[in-house]
């Protein structure tokens, strides 16, 4: 969506507000928390009427409402006398004598927004946010960096040098393009497969390595499993393992940004499996009711470990769930960096300007195993994996586009991959030689200060270590 169109939507909104104040219409109340839903097609007829609810005008803010109205026509139910409308507490509703159940999903699934075709060419009539050379090259470079990190770290785990790792393979575009579309002030609440956002924001390769090794330089003080990165400097909340818990937290963070009048939003990521958790429901509903400026980005990569999406839900994916909560939603090709960039860029603008949540479902494929503890060939065919790894690879697709613009060459590619590999190898050597965090870090930060029971326990432990030094690893400074 172009800025021009957003501007037009805003002008429409302003116009409607002015009209409301002048005439017999109810005053528009921006704090109205109850979005009354109705047939969007019928809104057009209701618009000139005196009894229109002002909240109905929310439909006219965004062009996508037209497309949505057209889709809804397929399921339209004939109303009885249109003048017989009852204003129930949940909104105005017309009546029908036809008994018809809304089907679970229309035959035609919600389309997936994309900009680049499989060959890395911009599709004709594409509606997207422009990306210049500097941005494009940085995006591509960071995708390559992510790929290189993954291949090296995966091997390091196989060699037993770190305990655990989780790759981003196949989801590099969702990572990097999302990050590129955001501002450094936007607050990130990740799941775990989004370190690309942190990379984009300037977290160094060395810092990634320190966390995976759990050494004394790890900001997390060696307390969490590898890949549970966090950085307050980069507004990237520390990852935790319980699934979906970050989603309602993101709504609280977004509410804070709104109350502070910040020109920023909360952005939170989750996988398709996470949408089955109760916290997903809580977050979506709270975000809508609280009118919180939060962008939900769901990486629908088809799998939750061994569970395919058909065992996860029977809806048309995640994008349709947004509507049920009163949240603007879009489905995007997660393997198309320009589509992801444009959707996130626009979603962010909508969230901040209109103080409302937006849901993005990025369709993609998990090319790698779920983690180093998983062998995904036990539950899916290698042919399927290869197809997404090669024919649908997001990094390759974006590379073609960058090359076609003459921003990138084979020489650049070789130099970049070689450079990143060297940096990572060096970073690993440094991290491997570093000491573990000091023993006191076992006890600190449980609370802001050490309570007496923990002080006592630390004293006891130190006595035991003194007495039985061979029972304990020697690389933890006492």
């Amino acid at each position: 969506m172009t800025s021009w169109l957003l501007g037009r939507s805003s002008r429409i909104l302003i116009h409607q507000q002015q009209q409301l104040h002048k005439g017999p219409f109810l005053n528009y109340n921006s704090s109205c928390s109850s979005f009354r839903s109705t047939e969007p097609f019928r809104c057009r007829d209701a618009l000139p009427g005196k009894n229109s609810s002002p909240t109905l005008f929310r439909f006219w803010r965004h062009e996508s409402t037209k497309a949505e109205a057209q889709l809804e026509l397929e399921q339209d139910v004939t109303e009885d006398d249109p003048k017989q409308i009852i204003d129930f507490p949940g909104g105005k509703v017309g009546f029908t004598s036809e008994m018809r159940f809304i089907s679970e999903s229309p035959q035609k699934r919600v389309p997936c927004y994309r900009v680049l075709d499989g060959n890395g060419e911009i599709l004709k009539y594409s509606d997207y946010v422009q990306v210049g050379k500097e941005m494009g090259v940085k995006m591509y470079s960071d995708m390559v960096t992510l790929q290189t990190m993954d291949s090296i770290f995966y091997e390091v785990q196989r060699q037993g040098r770190i305990s655990f790792y989780l790759t981003q393979m196949g989801e590099e575009a969702v990572n990097i393009a999302s990050a590129a579309a955001l501002s450094p002030d936007d607050i990130i609440l990740p799941q775990y497969r989004e370190p690309g956002v942190l990379l984009w924001r300037g977290f160094t390769l060395q810092q990634f390595v320190h966390q995976c090794f759990g050494n004394t330089h790890d900001f997390g003080k060696g307390r969490q499993m590898p890949i549970h990165y966090g950085s307050n400097k980069h507004n990237y909340f520390t990852v935790s393992s319980p699934i979906a818990t970050q989603l309602p937290q993101a709504v609280g963070a977004a509410y804070s940004l709104k109350m502070d009048g910040k020109s920023a939003c909360a952005v939170t990521f989750c996988g398709d499996g996470a949408t089955s958790e109760g916290d997903f429901h809580a977050a979506m509903n709270f975000a809508a009711v609280m009118e919180a400026p939060v962008v939900f980005i769901c990486r629908n990569n088809g799998w939750a470990i061994s569970t395919p999406v058909e065992d996860q839900f029977r809806s048309d994916g995640i994008v349709v769930k947004g509507k049920a909560y009163g949240i603007w939603s879009i489905r995007v090709d997660g393997n198309d960096a320009l589509a992801v960039y444009s959707a996130v860029h626009t979603a962010r603008e909508i969230a901040i300007r209109e103080k409302r949540p937006v849901l993005i479902e990025a369709l993609t494929y998990r090319v790698g195993h779920h983690s180093t503890s998983d062998d995904s060939t036990k539950y899916r065919g290698t042919g399927e994996i290869e197809y997404w790894k090669t024919a649908r690879n997001p990094v390759n697709r974006f590379k073609r586009w960058v090359e076609r613009n003459d921003w990138w060459s084979d020489k650049d590619e070789l130099e970049l991959r070689s450079s990143v590999r060297k940096q990572l190898m060096h970073a690993i050597q440094v991290a491997e030689k570093a000491q573990k965090p000091p023993l006191e870090d076992l006890f600190s930060d449980v609370y802001d200060q050490l309570p007496s029971n923990l002080q006592e326990q630390e004293r006891l432990l130190r006595k035991t270590i003194q007495k039985h030094p061979k029972d304990y690893p020697s690389d933890v400074p006492l």
Partner: protein, 358 residues
């Protein structure tokens, strides 16, 4: 109902007034001037007014809090501070606590209400896996110290399974949070303000039996009572009794009756269950040589077990008798059998006698 209350009320409140009157106020309770007679819910309301007034980044939210809350603890707050700072949430406890964590992580004071302690369990994952571990897991880069979760708590005469629970023990096994339970209006106001301003997530349980029944003089100004500090509210030399919340009033009645039989009881209000004040209890038991703990929650796995085991470890050579625990039974909280379920005055009195005679 009213008959039962009529019968119970004299048992709860002696002519001497509520148990606070037997203690010397700690931690800046203020002078005797500026006092006002308040019940528990009004004291809570006053604390919330002060919290919202003194910190523009504080918020109160939960189910039905906007109109004043189902126990009236949030009366007048939305009118005075606005609906963006005092607001209803959708009906979802895990959402309430998750939202509160996010709000607190951004540097705000997030005062979340869970309508009954019995319904805090849908938020257990957010409290245990998230709030409690937020600072630790991030290496202190992030924290949600500004979070306070307050909830009505304990028996109320007719609450049955889901309006009577005392879930404190579930949370006492969770490093990273604090658990605080007041016994009276004056204590509630001071302790709640301390919880709200403490830089750690706190679960604050309000004995709903006392919301309207407990009345005493409460300083009108801002004051805080320290967390993790127990209070000896009755001096004695023969046996130490430890409790918290509304149960203390029952225990006090037992102390008075025991005194008539020549037994001198020391009564301690624990106030903060984690991190708890071992030193005060230890000091008392070293003096008396005996310990009795009482709580409404079921006995097995109740917090009385932690107190008992800790004191046995620390005061073993001083103990003259086994530690006694007089608690709720190991059943779900029953409706018509509530009088049989509760650790009543006479159950406690009998245990006091057995302990002293051991």
């Amino acid at each position: 109902m009213s008959t039962k209350f009529g019968r119970l009320v004299p048992l709860v409140f002696s002519k001497r007034g509520f148990s606070t009157s037997t203690s010397v106020q700690k931690g800046g309770g203020g002078s005797e001037e500026g006092l006002k007679s308040l019940n528990l819910c009004s004291a809570i309301n006053q604390a919330l007014h002060i919290a919202l007034d003194s910190d523009p980044r504080s918020y109160v939210f939960g189910e039905d809090v906007s109109f004043g809350g189902v126990f009236r603890c949030t009366t007048g707050l939305a009118d005075q501070f606005g609906k963006k700072r005092v607001f209803n949430t959708p009906l979802c406890e895990q959402g309430i606590v998750g939202f509160g964590i996010g709000l607190a992580a951004m540097g705000n004071r997030a005062i979340a209400e869970i309508q009954f302690a019995d319904y805090i369990f849908p938020a257990f994952d957010q409290i245990v896996n998230e709030a409690a571990k937020f600072r630790y897991r991030s290496g202190n880069q992030f924290n949600c110290g500004g979070l306070t979760v307050r909830a009505p708590y304990g028996a109320v005469g007719h609450g049955g399974h889901y309006h009577s629970q005392s879930p404190e023990a579930f949370f006492c096994h969770v490093p990273g949070i604090k658990v605080v339970i007041p016994r009276s209006p004056r204590q509630a106001k001071g302790l709640l303000l301390s919880c709200i301003r403490d830089p750690n997530p706190v679960v604050f349980f309000e004995p709903k039996w006392l919301y309207r029944l407990a009345v005493e003089e409460v300083p009108e100004d801002d004051y805080m009572l320290p967390l993790s500090e127990a209070e000896v509210i009755r001096q004695g030399s023969d046996v130490t009794l430890v409790g918290w919340g509304a149960q203390l009033a029952i225990m006090e009645q037992a102390c008075l009756d025991a005194e008539k039989e020549g037994i001198s009881c020391e009564l301690i209000d624990l106030k903060t269950l984690i991190p708890w004040d071992k030193e005060t209890v230890e000091s008392s038991v070293n003096k008396t040589g005996r310990l009795l703990v009482s709580h409404e929650a079921p006995i097995t796995g109740g917090f009385g077990a932690e107190i008992s085991a800790s004191i046995v470890e620390r005061c073993f050579s001083r103990l003259e008798a086994p530690v006694a625990r007089i608690c709720g039974l190991d059943t779900p909280f029953p409706l018509v059998f509530e009088p049989f379920y509760m650790p009543t005055k006479n159950k406690i009195l009998d245990a006091i006698k057995s302990t002293v005679k051991y």
